[in-house]
């Protein structure tokens, strides 16, 4: 490969690039962009409408369900603690627990 020839090739391509004219903005460019932008805005808005409608509709049920689950978990926690305490205080349970100890 001849370096001088390579330099010339590179220079010719560089000049070709610099001589390039920018493509003109199409006549309906803004209109076509705005058409798509409006569609996206409407889709975004309709999604938010549906989301807020569903949220409003199911918010009371959701809150009730969450309260019930929390209450149930607290209740079960108390029952479990009580059972462990009873077992450890009971004689047989004591033996059982003592048997488990090294």
């Amino acid at each position: 490969m001849d370096d001088r020839r390579l330099d010339n090739l590179e220079q010719a391509l560089l000049r070709s690039f610099r001589a390039r004219q920018s493509a003109p903005v199409p006549a309906n460019f803004t209109a076509s962009v705005m058409r798509e932008v409006r569609q996206k805005a409407e889709r975004g808005a309709s999604f938010l409408d549906v989301f807020s409608l569903v949220a409003r509709r199911f918010a009371p049920v959701g809150a009730l369900a969450a309260t019930a689950v929390c209450g149930y978990a607290q209740f079960m926690d108390k029952v479990f603690n009580q059972a462990v305490l009873s077992l450890s205080m009971h004689s047989t349970a004591g033996i059982t627990l003592a048997g488990l100890m090294p």
Partner: protein, 188 residues
Amino acid sequence: MNDAEIVRRVLDGDVNAFAQLVDAHSAQIMSITSRHVPQDRAAEVAHETFVRAFERLGTFKGESPFVHWLTRIALRRCADFWRGRAKSRETVFSALGTGAREWIESIPDSSDAGLEVHAERSEAGVILDWAMSQLAPDDKLVLTMTHMDGQALSDVAEFMGWSLSKVKVRSHRARRKLRDVLGRMLDE
């Protein structure tokens, strides 16, 4: 009304105000996309740039001019365009036809006299597009901005979101890769 105020209006729900931003900056974005993607696809990439800008308008903080923010999006769209056309990099040079081969063979090997005439021929554009398409998208972008457009390295660093040293290194490497491609072309 300046760009930041228009952006605020759009974010407040006045979608139609976005048309003012498109009108104000479409020529500049077209000039960028024209230089980074084939001319017949420049309008399409510019269109995608504005739609993407609208989708991400909430992330514009107003710390730099709106047009800089928009330029970064345009450059990313151009890089995405080339990523989507990665398969075209497999096109062999011989597929460009005998005109391109003749153009290459007519390049002088001594002085640079007559290079202007060579540069004006349509084959030059075709060969340049082919050679550039052999580079990775980021290499192509950085080489176009630094070596071909002659933009300041600090501007390129800002647009690419890179450090100054990374721009220098990538630009140097990209030019070397382009020369490798051109060298192979001459050897064929």
